[in-house]
Symmetry: C2
């Protein structure tokens, strides 16, 4: 594998490229039968210092500089431990919501949809160009965190930043309600919403587990003959619970939100799947047939542990002929665009909102 002449990387790259191209006619169906097996893999990455980039806002630099979350690698040993973790997640967030609701100038009204608890979230002053449109929201948190109103924060940001009325679905979660409870609730809500609203005026969005659940909901809606929304916005969708993407390894310890799948995240996948094959498209919709899906905008960050989930979903949508935009935010770890204190968050929501508005009828 050594080049015959000294030279920089691209020389070898080109040499390998073109040699292989010549060795493998026809070009349309390349093969590498003569290539050696990848015995050099896995590669050892050296330890190194990772500085805070100056290419982002000062506020985001502070986020990037933050240490790993305490207990990112704490895995509850039993059901009681998961329940405590779930309750703690809500207890952390709930006291902060009144101030956020005031700052965003929105209203948050508890409701139910098809018997599923939900929150009806609306700007206090509805923009004329958002009238008559509704976004259904599925929240993140690894399918286990943020029960109740704590899960609706992203929808509050969408209402506050992008001006849309949102219905945030408080779906059931493990440890008490593993798969398919969340999907059952999401599809029940979607069935009821589409019975009440013209689907051409509906959108569907959510990040992390909410983004994966969104895609799984569309797979099942299609199978059950329910109409799709006019557009979707999966944010860094956790659409591969088996963790087969590259960034789960390449961005491990680079992402300072999730840090590594060896922490609570991998355990949450198993908890939610409850023994089912993690590669099942309803658990990992990146393995599903995404043809016929509505226009989509996907969002991730360069340090995101789920960058590969996002870009694989994007490519899979494009391969299926779906209109699909991608934005990848500089220096951001998993779902950091949900942080309303960084200017990049408002920018991301503006981009998502403009995309959705382009495809939602009025």
């Amino acid at each position: 594998m050594q080049p015959p002449l000294p030279g920089p990387a691209m020389i070898l790259h080109r040499r390998v490229v073109l040699s292989a191209a010549l060795a493998a006619p026809p070009l349309a169906a390349p093969t590498l039968a003569q290539a050696p097996a990848p015995t050099e893999a896995p590669r050892t990455l050296p330890a190194r210092l990772l500085p805070v980039p100056r290419s982002v806002s000062a506020e985001l630099q502070h986020r990037i500089a933050a240490p790993y979350p305490a207990n990112w690698d704490h895995i509850p040993p039993d059901t009681a431990g998961w329940r405590a973790l779930q309750a703690a997640s809500a207890a952390e967030v709930d006291p902060l919501l009144p101030g956020l609701i005031e700052a965003l100038r929105i209203t948050v009204t508890p409701t139910t949809i098809a018997g599923v608890p939900a929150f009806d979230i609306a700007p206090r002053d509805m923009r004329p160009d958002r009238q008559g449109r509704l976004l259904v929201h599925l929240h993140g948190g690894g399918y286990v965190l943020y029960p109740g109103r704590a899960g609706a924060g992203e929808a509050m940001l969408m209402a506050g930043f992008a001006g849309f009325r949102c219905l945030s679905v408080d779906y059931r979660m493990p440890p008490d309600h593993p798969f398919p409870a969340a999907l059952d609730d999401a599809i029940a809500a979607w069935r009821a919403v589409t019975a009440q609203h013209d689907p051409r005026r509906l959108g569907l969005f959510g990040s992390s587990a909410g983004g994966g659940l969104l895609l799984a909901t569309l797979l099942r809606a299609r199978a059950e003959g329910l109409p799709p929304p006019a557009a979707i916005a999966p944010g860094t969708p956790w659409c591969d619970l088996a963790g087969e993407g590259d960034s789960v390894n390449a961005n491990a310890y680079v992402d300072n939100v999730l840090v590594s799948r060896t922490g609570w995240l991998g355990a949450a996948a198993a908890l939610y799947a409850a023994g089912r094959d993690l590669r099942d498209p309803l658990l990992s919709p990146v393995n599903g047939d995404l043809s016929g899906f509505p226009p989509a905008i996907l969002t991730s960050g360069t340090r995101d542990l789920l960058l590969s989930d996002t870009v694989r979903a994007h490519r899979r949508l494009r391969r299926a002929g779906v209109v699909a935009d991608l934005q990848v935010l500089e220096g951001q770890s998993h779902a950091q665009f949900l942080d309303p204190t960084v200017p990049e968050a408002r920018e991301a929501f503006n981009e998502i909102g403009d995309f959705l508005a382009r495809y939602l009828g009025t």
Copy 2:
């Protein structure tokens, strides 16, 4: 910075997010005056094994498994050393081109444009939907490699995969001709091409240094009153020669093409700039005013050392209101989508070609 309750990453994340949101009204102009300085940075990344992902084609897995290029960190000590490196890069590639030209079923004709050497590259069988359109190509190689026909490989792929006639500009390079020689040649070529062709039928593309040069050429064309092309395709554009983006550090030793800016790449930046400020927009167009630019499609990979160059250019174009698509290819290091032996290369060129065709008039 420790959370008061045990819990996974997102709890802390949400807590910080919402606390800061409340502390910083008005929300439209967040400040973090009370936040501590990022004293924890830089973060130490532990050494670790990076496996080859199974989420890409078998051919790409072989590329990802390859070791770092020999001499990626060899920096020529003097002008003679750079000249030798430059000559070696062409000598490596040139013997491979006849086979590639045959496999792609294209013609490659040496020509000149405004006195600048160039290559006129065309499919032997021109698709009807590509008639009357021309793409101008600026090649990569760190502004120092691939003089002569060796630089035209990407244009050959564009002609072969996407069916466009291309004019690949063999611009002058250091060590004998540093900045602004390359830009002078590119703008001279562009001036001549736009005098001969309706710019609504013209595109401009190139990767790595070619992508950066492309953006710089548009900045200067606008300043000189020359028309822009109808669409552009900067592939992983080297648009920040100062290396201020995050992926230059985050993907160091992850990218197995460029490996690290501490190798020849950083030295090539200094060689090209020849003492000028590396942040000058004509050297680093990510710092330029990109408003009024034509529709753009940008391409990178999740392991790309220049992922941040790409996504920062994408965001900067979007902020300027420019139509800009982004594709990020799973597991790929710098410019690996130029490897014609991986199925992902053809897919990337198809995507780029379809985008350009959408905006180029017929």
